[in-house]
């Protein structure tokens, strides 16, 4: 990677990191739920761009499709279905806001200082597990193989042990998603028990 590419990558990282952090702060600051949802879209989209910059292309695409395209649509539907007025405001009292801001600043200071204090291990030299054959971060094939239970990226490095991959967690999370969808449909179903006697009274 030459110098201009490196500089461009750093510039893009700075832009998207700033967008992520500022819109996360805007989510906390803004009062109406619709604006919070808008800033959350910006924040999660910029996070997907950060994933692309970190050579995790499939995770970035999944973030865009599932989070921005699925979960946030769900949240916006929740906002629309539970809002009694177009701009529903549920304000917190000023004392709560001040205490929350102070605690947040303290918390952020604690996290930052502990981040500075940790000596992270040196990055792997050249042939890490992900970027072994593809320096541009083409992670689709290794991810799919790992979810199917095969880890050729690890097994080819040390021939002694066969690593197990992630087939069982993949199956568990699939069944979990099905159970969650059935449960959500059951919870949010229309009530008939309370409506039936009223109709009986009317007729």
């Amino acid at each position: 990677m030459n110098d201009s590419n490196l500089l461009g990558g750093q510039l893009l990282f700075a832009i998207f990191a700033l967008a992520t952090c500022l819109s996360a702060v805007a989510v906390v600051v803004s009062q109406t739920v619709v604006r919070m949802a808008f800033w959350l879209v910006i924040s999660l989209g910029s996070t997907a761009a950060l994933f692309f910059l970190a050579d995790a292309d499939f995770i970035g695409a999944a973030q865009l499709i599932i989070y921005v395209g699925g979960t946030l649509i769900l949240l916006v539907f929740g906002v629309m279905l539970t809002a009694s007025s177009p701009y529903l405001k549920i304000k917190s009292s000023p004392g709560e806001t001040i205490i929350g801001g102070l605690l947040g600043l303290l918390f952020m200071f604690a996290v930052f200082s502990s981040l500075q204090g940790v000596e992270w291990p040196a990055p792997p030299t050249g042939d890490s597990a992900v970027t072994a054959g593809s320096p541009e971060g083409n992670t689709l094939r290794p991810l799919g193989l790992a979810l199917l239970g095969a880890r050729p990226d690890l097994d080819l490095h040390d021939g002694d042990t066969l690593s197990t991959g992630y087939l069982l967690p993949f199956e568990i999370v699939s069944v979990h998603l099905l159970v969650v969808l059935i449960g959500a449909a059951y919870l949010a179903r229309a009530k008939r028990k309370s409506a039936a006697p009223a109709e009986g009274l009317e007729s």
Binding site: V25, V28, T82, G104, A184
Partner: protein, 102 residues
Amino acid sequence: MIAGLQAYLLVGAVLFVCGVICMATKRNGIGVLMGVELVLNGANVNFIAFSKYTALGLDAQIFALFVIVLAAAEAAVALAIALNFYNNHLTIDVDKANRLKG
């Protein structure tokens, strides 16, 4: 180097702290859910940073995928509960939610 491991971890820390404040101070139920999403995204940023800059490699990306899927499942169930609560009480103010039964 600017875009190193520390920078990614700082972004993750900002997302995490914003999510925690959002969960603690918002009184709207949907706002609390958005705080949860922010916290999970901070964790995902950390996973991806460790995937690139340490020997964790592909495992971190698989964990990030599971986090995304479980966040979607959590949002679906929590929104169903919020809708159910709104049907019973006509509000989603979490301070008034001291009784989930209708």
